[in-house]
Amino acid sequence: MNAAYTVPAIVLVILATVLIGALGLRISRTTSDFYVASRSVNPGLNAAAISGEYLSAASFLGIAGLILVYGPNMLWYPFGFTAGYLVLLLLVAAPLRRSGAYTLPDFAEARLESRYVHRVASVFVVGVGWLYLVPQLQGAGLTMTVITGAPRWAGGLLVAAVVTVVVAAGGMRSITFVQAFQYWLKLTALLVPAAFLLVAWQTHDGHRLAYGKQLTFRERTHVTLSSPLDLSVTRPVRVTVTGDVDGRGYAGTTLDLGPGRHHVEQGARLDFAAGTPVPDTVVMSGGRADQSVDSGPQPHSLYTTYSLIIATLLGTMGLPHVVVRYYTSPTGAAARRTTVVVLVLLGAFYLLSPVYGMLARLHAPDLILTGDSDAAVLVLPARLIRGVTGELLGSLLSAGAFAAFLATTSGLTIAVTGVLTKHVLPSRGRTSWGVRRFRWVTLLATGVPAVAQVLLGDLPVADSVGMAFALSAAAFCPLLTLGIWWRRLTPQGAAAGLVVGGGSALAAVVATIVGGMDGGWWASLLGSPALWSVPLSFLVTVIVSLATQGGVPGGTEAMMRRLHTPEDPGGRPDPAAVRGAGG
């Protein structure tokens, strides 16, 4: 990709982000402005901001990359990412806004009157936030590598640094403007190249599609491997090799790889003729090569599909950066309407994911072999459209990808920082809402994931986002839905649900990241924990609550009234809510 066009485009995005942030800073003056934009954000702007914040690296790059490798089944991701907002709308949107909670721990404390639940919830918010931040930074690193050849960790550190400055300088108000801008930027950045690509596709391919799993190289394709690779061949593949295959060195020799598993060393150059089927690999699935001989390149079984559906549908409501946004709606009814607009905006955006996924399967199957499938969106324009137009469109996509990293990272950062400042870190003597302290904590909030992304290497971007959703669903879905609709919930029950359900999901995710499971049922159960951990969390919450009915908080009835009764029609902020959140 041509850095001469792309680097200026990215610099432009970063400058625009900082500039809009700075404009917001001039408007926001008081501490309360700084945190929640004094709740005067209008629903249209707020919906664009929610969508802009939510559409992350996983949405912009990751889904197309997964579709390229695993096929159309990965379209469950964008469906789940959108339908999660519908579940949020149906079950929690208006009451959550009326609770006056700025963070999930605030909600837990207001509803259950317990400092202990509040503490436990805070830990999980930070956990989900960090888990979600790591893939954003990794995606930024990948994009920088594809564009400039910079090392993987550099892009992540760059995004972390920009976000730290923007968040620490401007706070929430400027973030609202920034996020709304980012949504439209991201939509444009995907939409315009998609239009050009579809025209080019029609000209080149005459509407040819690739529905199924088997991919073929359309043209003669060279692949130079930057890391070792295991190929699982089902039908014999003819390839010209320069380098080491199965322990033997070749120099421009044409081989017929027979069925079975073949190991290709780093630095080898593979040369496939046009029409050769793409051999199955396991670059993206964490080394489960042996299975794919039988089942094709699809380690995602029906179990993983259902688990993913549960995680995304029930996990969206618990994402830390989503709750903060609901607080900026003026009333519960406005929060609901905002959510419907969000559904429209997200749906429009995700219509483009299958387009890029399909084109990537037709024109970029070699990325599966090099392990850069997450970069498929970025390289497509140059592949289909020759000359300056292709380069410019590629630059636009790179700028959009950077907008995605910046938006989601800053949203998560502000949420994690809020929780760290108010609930986790001790605040002796000083008021915990001080602006200066907020700025220092921002550094901590981005620093930890920035270091983690350097240490962890590459997990597929959308996969690790899926894990963050699973953790969020297991920890917070029972707390929110039961807290809003069930009078008999007790602090003991909620705490037990958080610790057992959320804790087991957290353990499963950590085991997957650290342990590198080698396929089989255990790997699926631990890598996609939502299908068992969410019901477990609900069960424990309900059983323990029923066993400790003496602990039902005295204010439950008053709280239920506040959650479910409409505000007065002027939409005046509820003074009790303001106090509750500001305390």
Partner: protein
Amino acid sequence: MSVEPIPRREVVTRSPNRPRKAPVSPPVSAARAAVHEDPRLHSLMRRQLRSSLVGVVALAVPTALLPLLLVLAPASGGIRSGPGLTWLILGFACYPPLVLLGWWYVRRAERHERDFARRTEGD
């Protein structure tokens, strides 16, 4: 903030303003007074929960059946095959129903709240 902000797309659906005749007692003061159970609140919560659950079922049943349908569909054969249907349904066709369901729910929920406000006003 005296005019309720409404997304432009929805203006045609119905009269935009919720009760013009403002309830005499803002629920804020009521919230502190109502320590014991209020049957009207219970009725509101039941109706809201029923609408929510109808919405959840309308989302959950097709979502739960779809993966099975896609697995059972023939593995090849163009747009009618499992992969072909996956592209079509998950890629494009699923989004309008999500928006429509959300829109339906918002109308229901706001109607319940208007009814509640009217009854509270009758005090």
